[in-house]
Each structure stands twice: as C-alpha cells, then as structure tokens.
C-alpha cells in the first residue's frame, strides 16, 4: 500500500507542475527522436543536455534522463529495424531479425512488435522496480561481487560469440578486437598508459560513442554505397502491419523469459540493457525449435531483444539509486546530474530525497506507457524516412553522425576515429566478422578487466576462489560449457553441407 501511495504522490508531483510536464514530454520526444534518427543516439542527446541540467532541479534533471533512457532504448529499435543501424548497442540484436523483416516487407510488423514489447518490458520492469527495489538490490548487491560480475561478463561474451559472425571463430575474433580496443588508455588498477603511442588523445581511451557510430552507422552507409555502385540497392518495401494480440500471445514465453533476463541483467551494475538484449535474443534462439530461422526475419527475435532491453531500464535504476553504481553510459551521466546538484546517488537519496525517487519512478512508468501511444504515431512518420532516396539520406546520416561524434568531447579526432571505425567495420563485415561483437567487447572489456582485477585481489590471486562462490562458479561453468560445446562442434561434427547431397545455400542453410 505504501508503494502505491508513494507512486501516487510521485505522479501528482510530476503532473502538477507544468515545467515538469514539459520536461517529461520533451524527454519522451527527444529520447525517441534521437534514438530513431540514424547516426545519433539517446547518448548524444544526453551528452548535449548534461551541461544544461544545472539549470533544472535535481528531481527534474534525473527525471529527464530517466525518461530519455526509457524512450531512447526503444527509439533505437526503429532504425535497427528499418535501416540496420541500431540507435544503441542494446538495439543491435533487434537488427538481427528486424532488418531482414524489413527486407521481407514486414517493417511495420517488426516496428509494431518493438513498440508493444518495449512498452510491456519497460512497464513491467518499472512496476517490479517500484515493488521490489529494496529486497532485490539487497540480494544483488550482497550476492554479486566482482567475481560474479566478471563471471557474468565472461558468460555473456561466451554466448554472444555465437551470434553475429559467419563462424564461431570470427565471432570470437570480433569480440577480441573490441576487448583490445577497450585496453587502449590507462589500465584500471595502476593507471599505466597502454597502447597510447605517445598520443595524448589515446590516453583517455577510445571513446565508445564514435566507435559505435562508426561500426554501425558509417559502415552501413559504405555497404549501401557498394550496392549503389553495382546497382543492386533496393529500397525496402514498407507495410504497416502491427502484430496481432494472438501473435503476441503465441510469443508469451519469449516475452516473459526476456523480461526476466532483462530485469536480471539490468539490476547488475555495469551490465545493463546491452547484455540483456543479447542474452534475451540468444536464449530465444537457444530455446527455439527452429533456431535456423533466426537471422532471416523472425518476429520472436525482435520481441525477445526489445522486451529484454527495455526491461533492463527500470532495473538499471536500482543499483544507481540504491548504491550509486551506474549500470551503463546513460546512468553514468545521471551520476553527473546528481553531482552537479551536490548530491551523491546512494542509500541516502532514499532517506533524504524520497520525493525525487518516486517522481523518477512515476516518470519512468508513464514514459514506458507513452511508448505505446507516441511510438505508434512516430512509427508511421519514421517509416516515411524509407521513402527518401538513399543518396539523400546518406549525407544526412553521415553529417548527423559527425555532429554526434564531435559533440561528445568537442574533438575532431573523434570524428576521424568514427569514420576509421566505419572503414574497418566495412572490411570486417564483408569478411564475415560481427560489428555488434566488436562493440559488445568494447563495452564489456573495461568492466571485465576491472572486475577481474578486483576479483583477483579479493580472492588473494587464488583462481580456485571462483569455485568457492556458487554464482560465479555456475556462470563460469556454463560459459565454458557453451564454448566447449561449440568448439567440439567445430572439430568433430560434419558440416551439414557435407551431410547433404544438395548444394548448400549459405543464406538459409541450417548451419547458417
């Protein structure tokens, strides 16, 4: 009952002040637009807005960022589906099946599924967040130390290596490139410079926003450029055909599973929506009776990824508000908002600023609900973007990406890095490597190394210490089993093409 009263109070505070309403609506539209416009993301918007939150109250600033977080995670799905350009890494798995659906003339259905499942995942996550913040935070924080987080990162990478690339080995090589890029800069324990080649720019590491923009947005433009030259670029067919209730009910297991995965990943500091989306997608494939259909335009792929990433948004606020631990880039920016108002996120926020917490919770709840309405309307507008000839869209995307990369730190070298990442991504993609794997490696690399170092120090450099911790041991065990099973398949199983008398068709063959 207390929870309901607090929620009611938070809602009244939110909607009784016109400025709050304006900020709330601005966050919804801004998050969706920046999530949806190819080449920029909610992080670009958040980075641009961060300095201006000093003019708002702490309550308004955090509320704005939390709304942008909810709607931005959804907004990125639109471009992932329509253009194969995920607005953020957490939308990358959405593109795996969403883009093929667009090419199959089912763009409307894919976007519709993303709207419904994002809203559903987000709303449920927010409700659970409101009801269970304290007990879940207590459990996760006490049960998940650095060894467990490292084990979870390893498990996530082990599973993700199987997705996205042409072969298992290329998947791993993609992830390892990302991990290596994350190494550049100062090491997390001793602050020693690594691979800086005496360039001051590299001391701070390679920023992930230009890298993501390059690997996803720019490399996609290059692929399309090549198609234009050979005259095989065909604008995707558009139809607005939202999934029916029956179709959603058919996927209820996938939705519930992705909600649980999303919430679980979201609550862990440093993991967040990206791994949630990848794991949601991977588990959908793993449990499917027809795994070979994934990647060719299967609705369940979009549903699983989008439910999981939005389910993570509510959960990601728990470690942030309860312990001051950001779950990702956007929640890290929220720490900046707190600090600008001379506040520190953590347990004291619940005691001293309960109003703030409940306004944020209420705003997130209504932001997720609004995805259904505004997302529906916005989708119809954004789908029209597909009608714009690509020779007009390409310079716009590249110019927006330029502004996005530059706006993060005000460095032109970030723009160079972005276009360089685009060229590298182009060559890797045409050779069967996975740009999503690279980005995942890049993001999880820093967390992985940091938690590994902390874990080893905690365990007094005894490797066996991992085995004494059941959760860490379990996650590492499952991760190693996943790897072992795949490697066994590589070495000892016959190729399906060899088994079959008919020539294999790479795109749709079972081994694809």
């Amino acid at each position: 009952m207390d929870t309901f009263n607090n929620f009611l109070q938070g809602s009244i505070t939110l909607f009784s002040d016109p400025i709050n309403i304006l900020i709330f609506l601005g966050g919804i539209v801004g998050g969706m637009l920046f999530g949806a416009i190819p080449g920029v993301s909610m992080l670009t918007l958040a980075a641009i807005l961060l300095p201006f939150t000093a003019h708002l109250t702490a309550e308004q600033g955090i509320m704005l960022f939390s709304v942008i977080y909810c709607t931005g995670v959804y907004g990125g799905a639109i471009t992932a589906i329509l253009f194969n350009i995920p607005g953020a890494p957490e939308n990358a798995p959405t593109a795996f099946d969403g883009y093929p659906m667009t090419k199959n003339g089912q763009a409307g259905k894919a976007v519709g599924a993303a709207v419904m499942c994002s809203a559903l995942g987000g709303v449920v996550s927010t409700i659970v967040m409101m009801v269970a913040t304290a007990p879940i935070a207590d459990w996760a924080i006490s049960a998940f130390g650095p060894p467990e987080i490292f084990a979870l990162v390893f498990f996530g990478l082990a599973v993700a290596a199987s997705v996205g690339a042409k072969t298992f080995w290329k998947g791993w090589l993609s992830i390892l490139i990302g991990l290596m890029v994350a190494v550049v800069g100062l090491d997390p324990v001793g602050g020693i410079e690594r691979y800086d080649f005496d360039m001051p720019y590299l001391l701070a590491g390679i920023h992930f926003i230009p890298t993501i923009l390059g690997f996803f947005a720019v490399s996609e433009i290059f692929v399309q450029a090549e198609k234009k030259v050979r005259g095989s670029y065909i604008a995707p067919k558009i139809s607005v055909d939202f999934p029916t209730l029956k179709e959603l009910i058919e996927h209820k297991v996938a939705i519930i599973r992705s909600m649980c995965i999303g919430f679980f990943c979201g609550i862990l500091p440093g993991i967040g929506a990206t791994l949630a989306a990848f794991m949601g997608y991977n588990e959908a494939v793993r449990w499917s009776k027809k795994p070979e259909e994934f990647g060719t335009g299967k609705l369940e792929g979009v549903i699983s990824s989008e439910t999981a990433n939005n389910a993570a948004t509510g959960a990601a606020m728990i470690p942030l508000l309860a312990l001051g631990l950001p779950g990702g880039a956007l929640t890290a920016m929220m720490v900046g908002v707190f600090q600008m108002h001379d506040m520190e996120p953590g347990p004291l926020v619940f005691l001293n600023s309960a109003d703030l917490v409940w306004v944020v919770f209420a705003a997130m709840f209504f932001a997720n609900c609004s995805i259904l309405l505004i997302g529906w309307l916005e989708t119809k507008t954004i789908i029209n973007l597909l009608r714009i000839p690509f020779q007009f869209l390409a310079p716009m995307i590249l110019l927006l990406a330029t502004v996005g990369a530059y706006a993060v730190r005000g460095l032109t070298i970030d723009v160079v890095v972005m276009f360089l990442a685009g060229v590298v991504g182009f060559f890797l993609r045409r050779s069967g490597y996975s740009v999503a794997g690279i980005v995942l490696g890049l993001i999880l690399g820093k967390i992985g190394e940091q938690t590994f170092a902390q874990a080893m120090q905690m365990l007094h450099f005894e490797w066996s210490g991992f085995l004494d911790r059941p959760i860490a041991a379990g996650l590492l065990g499952v991760g190693f089993l996943t790897l072992a099973a795949t490697i066994y398949g590589e070495f000892f199983k016959k190729s399906p093409a060899a088994k079959s008398d008919t020539p294999s068709e790479p795109r749709h063959s079972p081994d694809a």
């Binding site: 001793g190 716009m396 160079v416 999503a436």
Partner: protein, 239 residues
C-alpha cells in the same frame, strides 16, 4: 591443403601480424603494480593469446569447411554481414589489387594530417606559412580525389568521409559541410544539379538550426582564414 585459399592464408597472416605487433608493444607498459601482481600487461596479453588461438581456429575451419558458415551452438548469422559479403562478391571487389589500391586511396586523409606539418618543420615556416601549406596540400589532394571519383566510386566513398574528418580541424564544419553533402550525393549516384542544391541547402540548414541555434552545440569553426571567419560569422548569425 584442404579447402584453403590464398585469401584464407592472408587473413590468418594479418591476424597473426596484428597479434605480434600488439605483443611487441605490450612491453612498453610491462611495469609492476604493487597491489596487482599480474600488472598492466596480463589482460591485453591474454586477449592477444586468445586472438592467436582464434585465428588458428578460423584457419582450421577454412581448411576443413572452406567459406561455409560455422555450425554454431545457436545456429544463427547476421544478415548484414551476408549482405556486405554478397555486395563485395558481386562487385568483384575481392582481389588483392582492389584492396591495395583502396589502402592507397585511404592514405590520402593521413597524408593531409601529417605532410603539411613535415613541410612546415622542414622549411621552418611560421603559422601563416603552415596554413598556406595546408591549403595547398588540401587542394592537391582534392584534385587527386576528383580524378579518382569517376572510376573508383566505392574506394572514394570509403575515403571521402575520412578526408572530410581530417580537414575539419583546419577548414571547419561550416565551410566543409555543403561540399561534403554534395560529394556524398554524387558518390551515391545523384547527378541532378537542382536536386543536389536543394537537398544540400535543406540538410545544411536543418543541421545548423537544430544543433547550432537550438541546442547550442559548438561545431568546429576551423583554424585557417578565411574559413575560420566564415564559421565564426555563421555561428554569430545563428546564435
């Protein structure tokens, strides 16, 4: 040799060269950390080792299965990669000559980023001299790009944005962006001057209004006159 092709050996060779390069440079930061006995180099070296293993694993896969996709545990591939591979294959862009000439063109932005400084240092030029050198080098490189643009569109398309990024610091976003928009449209096959002019004005105007007028994002105005003055004037007018 199983199903191995020369390209597979080159691919594995490139990976192993990368591993060797990274390993050699890892000695630059092999310093002890008092509280962490593995030091700063253990993590990158573990990644390098795994990279080398994966490169050999990939080579084994190609020896056994050729270019077939692997039978992964969850059995899926990303369509975008297949698209990219298919595009490359159909455009006959898979031979060594194509890759080498592409690398040659891709060096143009880096030539601009380094050569004017070398010339200025060699000739002991002052700031104005350096700026003039930069303008001259940029003009020569632009002429080279224009020469290649008609017959090597994909290669120029890869290099063009990078060249734009390399020029940004000196010539500024405001002066370069219209030419960049026109260049990208041309590379994507647009040839109608009226449409190109209209779309350029529209995109340029939208970006300036949204980011400069409304969001007050500071974009690079350049270092070299008169480009610096043009950028400054546009910012003053818009803000």
């Amino acid at each position: 040799m199983g199903k191995l092709k020369t390209g597979h050996l080159v691919e594995a060779g490139l990976w192993l060269c990368l591993c060797l390069f990274l390993y050699v440079f890892s000695f630059d930061f092999e310093r002890p950390i008092e509280i962490y006995k593995f030091g700063a180099s253990a993590w990158p070296r573990a990644i390098i080792l795994l990279m080398a293993i994966a490169a050999f694993g990939q080579l084994y896969h190609q020896w056994k299965y050729g270019d077939e996709a692997s039978m992964s545990l969850i059995g899926t591939t990303v369509d975008e990669d297949e698209d990219a591979e298919e595009a490359a294959h159909e455009a006959h862009h898979e031979n060594a000559k194509w890759y080498l000439s592409t690398l040659g063109l891709l060096s143009i932005p880096f030539v601009y980023m380094r050569v004017p400084d070398w010339i200025a240092a060699g000739a002991d030029l002052d700031k104005t001299g350096l700026h003039i050198t930069r303008i001259v080098v940029a003009a020569i490189l632009i002429a080279i790009v224009v020469y290649f643009i008609r017959h090597h569109r994909v290669r120029v398309a890869l290099m063009f944005p990078l060249f734009f990024a390399a020029l940004l610091e000196d010539f500024g976003f405001y002066s370069l962006a219209p030419f960049f928009i026109v260049g990208v449209m041309y590379l994507f096959g647009e040839r109608r001057p009226r449409q190109m002019a209209m779309i350029t004005a529209l995109i340029y105007g939208l970006v300036l209004v949204l980011f400069v007028s409304i969001l007050f994002v500071g974009l690079p105005i350049g270092n070299i006159r008169p480009f610096y003055d043009i950028g400054g004037w546009i910012v003053t007018v818009l803000q």
